[in-house]
């Protein structure tokens, strides 16, 4: 490479410690910007995914299930559990005013003992009326589920074609769902015919805490979308006033806790990014200023040899560009190596929905983080470049004597 082009690189290579410190700083900046942005986005995508999976304005459950944490644990946190109410209450709900889409769901928790292959939450739905699970399952499995067909969440260690046993009843894995970043990734889904049979098997094995129920006459919850012209609040109030022993809850209230936690985490990450960014600019500004100051004589010599003021500024800017590009790579790479393979662990630790965006979006964040680092580095170097472009060559050369 010609010296005219390689001089910035040679200058950096000639001062390895200073260069390494500058690269480390920009790497830290890139890692924070990239990792922080990806974390915030993944949490937001996870929350959107959860909202979309819940897919209804209102959830109606038996009153005894609504010690709120219990319900949230089952619906949002992936804890296993089940509760039932009479089918008659479902009929009453159907008769209320303002009900748009409505469908019943059936819950069952499999056991960890020998009767069951996996201890999971099993969710049954009515294919005739369902409007929350079916559209999602359709993305992975376009056929109609037959009796004893199940669809498994993405995080479960089961694959299409496997046979899983629940309470001694063998079920066939028809499909595996896409990742959602929510508790649904550890659940199993099936139609109401299958789950009713499984509930009956659990009762037969004396493993169901509800011993006296008839699976044909119960539902676990009712999901409702408000009809046009009605608000979810109106319907919730109406149901809670007029139908006994049930509790209607707006799903957005259920996830408000998660939403608040997510906002808190996002705010902390945002503040961290801002602090690192400001620190990065200040430290890089000082580092570039010191670096240029200690080489004033060399820049004066380049002027003597015939470098224009613009050329001197160009050398400083190229040096900063090289540092920022190397720093970006050094920061983003570990970010990818941490977030991509360990996103499930992060999800578990945060206890929040966490769904990585698609690869195109991740590439966008990589480019964004590189641009942010380059912009920061070049802004910090610009003052030094301007200063060096205005050096009084004669004064510097004379000052050496």
């Amino acid at each position: 490479m010609k010296i005219s082009r390689s001089l910035p690189f040679r200058n950096l290579a000639g001062k390895p410690v200073r260069t390494a410190v500058l690269i480390f700083l920009t790497a830290l900046l890139s890692l924070t910007v990239f990792g922080g942005t990806l974390m915030i986005t993944s949490l937001r995508t996870g929350l959107r995914s959860l909202e979309s999976r819940l897919g209804a304005d209102i959830m109606v459950v038996p009153y005894e299930a609504t010690t709120k944490s219990n319900l949230e644990n089952i619906v949002l946190q992936g804890a296993t559990g089940y509760f039932y109410m009479d089918h008659a209450r479902y009929e009453k709900i159907l008769s209320r005013e303002g009900i748009g889409q409505v469908s019943a769901q059936f819950f069952l928790a499999s056991a960890s003992s020998g009767c069951c292959s996996l201890a999971v939450q099993i969710i049954g739905f009515d294919p005739e009326t369902d409007f929350t699970i079916t559209p999602w399952i359709k993305k992975s499995y376009s056929q109609t589920l037959q009796k004893y067909d199940i669809v498994v969440g993405n995080d479960l260690n089961a694959f299409v074609g496997d046979t899983l046993s629940f309470y001694g009843t063998e079920c066939h894995v028809a499909a595996k769902l896409d990742k959602t970043g929510t508790s649904f990734d550890t659940a199993v889904f099936t139609n109401q015919e299958t789950i009713k049979a499984l509930i009956q098997s659990s009762i037969d094995l004396n493993m169901n805490t509800f011993r006296n129920i008839n699976p044909e006459q119960v539902v676990s919850c009712v999901l409702i979308n408000a009809a046009e012209g009605y608000t979810p609040e109106e319907i919730v109030n109406d149901i809670n006033i007029h139908i006994k022993k049930v509790k209607a809850i707006q799903t957005k209230e259920m996830i408000s806790g998660i939403s608040d936690s997510l906002q808190g985490v996002s705010r902390i990450i945002g503040i961290l990014i801002l602090i690192v960014w400001i620190l990065g600019i200040v430290i890089l500004l000082l580092a570039f200023t010191m670096s240029v100051s200690e080489r004033k004589k060399e820049f004066a010599v380049l002027r003597v040899i015939g470098a224009s003021r613009k050329k001197l500024a160009g050398i400083v800017m190229q040096e900063s560009l090289l540092i920022c590009l190397a720093g970006s790579a050094a920061g983003i790479l570990p970010g990818l190596l941490i977030l991509l393979p360990f996103h499930q662990l992060i999800e578990e630790q945060l206890n929040l929905p966490f769904l990585l965006p698609n690869s195109g979006a991740i590439l966008g964040y990589v480019i964004g983080a590189i641009l942010a680092s380059v912009l920061t580095g070049c802004t910090a170097a610009a003052a030094s470049a301007l200063r060096i472009s205005r050096i009084d060559t004669a004064l510097i050369l004379r000052g050496d004597n």
């Binding site: 010609k2 010296i3 005219s4 082009r5 001089l7 040679r10 200058n11 290579a13 000639g14 001062k15 004589k297 060399e298 004066a300 010599v301 380049l302 002027r303 003597v304 040899i305 015939g306 470098a307 224009s308 003021r309 613009k310 050329k311 009084d392 060559t393 004669a394 050369l397 004379r398 050496d400 004597n401």
Partner: protein
């Protein structure tokens, strides 16, 4: 090439006894002709280096004009003047002037390589040999003595065979033998067609000079070369 300086002066803003202005160089006329070696001596702070920097296009005069042939030096925009200096003016600045990330040969070749031209390594090596530092061509500046660095700067200044060669204390770190070598070298550059202007404290320099000047308090006076 003929350099003509017409009534050039340089004033700095600096606290003095009577004002805040310091006249480093009083109105001065100077002509440097091709194939001549001109020596300027004088006490430290007398204005010698100021004059040299003005002639090199590195410091705007307070008054007066400098012409190289027909070209007025300070009428050129910075990019043009920089290119002009690169191609026509060789400068040996005061002190140590190596770029520490480049080795000796790369430093010497800079007048060419800085602008993306071929390095002219063979010519550079010939110069280093003449100055007795060819064996150090791959060494880094930090490994060289002060005298060796000065000789490297001399080689760098003459590599492009400039029509105007300006040397500011070129022998300040050299022993007697190397001082003679460098002056002989500058003399040779003049004999080959350059207009050479040397600022020095060395009385030995008179032996090589065609014209001699002395600077005192910013005023330049011609002296006998004898």
């Amino acid at each position: 090439m003929i350099l003509k300086a017409e009534k050039i002066s340089k004033e700095f803003i600096r606290e003095t006894k009577n004002s805040n202005r310091f006249l480093a160089l009083q109105e001065t006329d100077l002509t440097l002709e091709a194939r001549s070696l001109t020596v300027l001596t004088g006490r430290s702070g007398s204005g010698k280096s100021t004059l040299l920097n003005l002639l090199a296009g590195l410091m705007l005069p307070t008054s007066g004009k400098i012409f190289l042939d027909e070209q007025e030096l300070y009428a050129m925009p910075d990019q043009v003047l920089s290119r002009f200096r690169n191609q026509h003016i060789g400068v040996i600045p005061q002190g140590q002037t190596a770029l520490h990330s480049l080795n000796v040969l790369e430093n010497v070749c800079l007048p060419y390589t800085l602008r993306g031209e071929d390095a002219h390594q063979a010519e550079a090596e010939a110069l280093l040999e003449q100055l007795d530092i060819l064996h150090l061509k791959s060494a880094m500046p930090a490994e060289l003595s002060g005298g060796e660095l000065r000789r490297m700067a001399v080689a760098r200044a003459v590599l492009r065979k400039p029509e105007l060669l300006l040397a500011d204390e070129p022998t300040s770190d050299l022993d007697d033998e190397n001082t003679r070598t460098v002056f002989a070298f500058l003399r040779q550059a003049a004999d080959q067609g350059a207009a050479v202007f040397v600022v020095t404290h060395e009385n030995d320099a008179f032996r090589y000079a065609d014209r001699c000047f002395r600077m005192d308090g910013g005023r330049m006076q011609e002296q006998s070369a004898d």
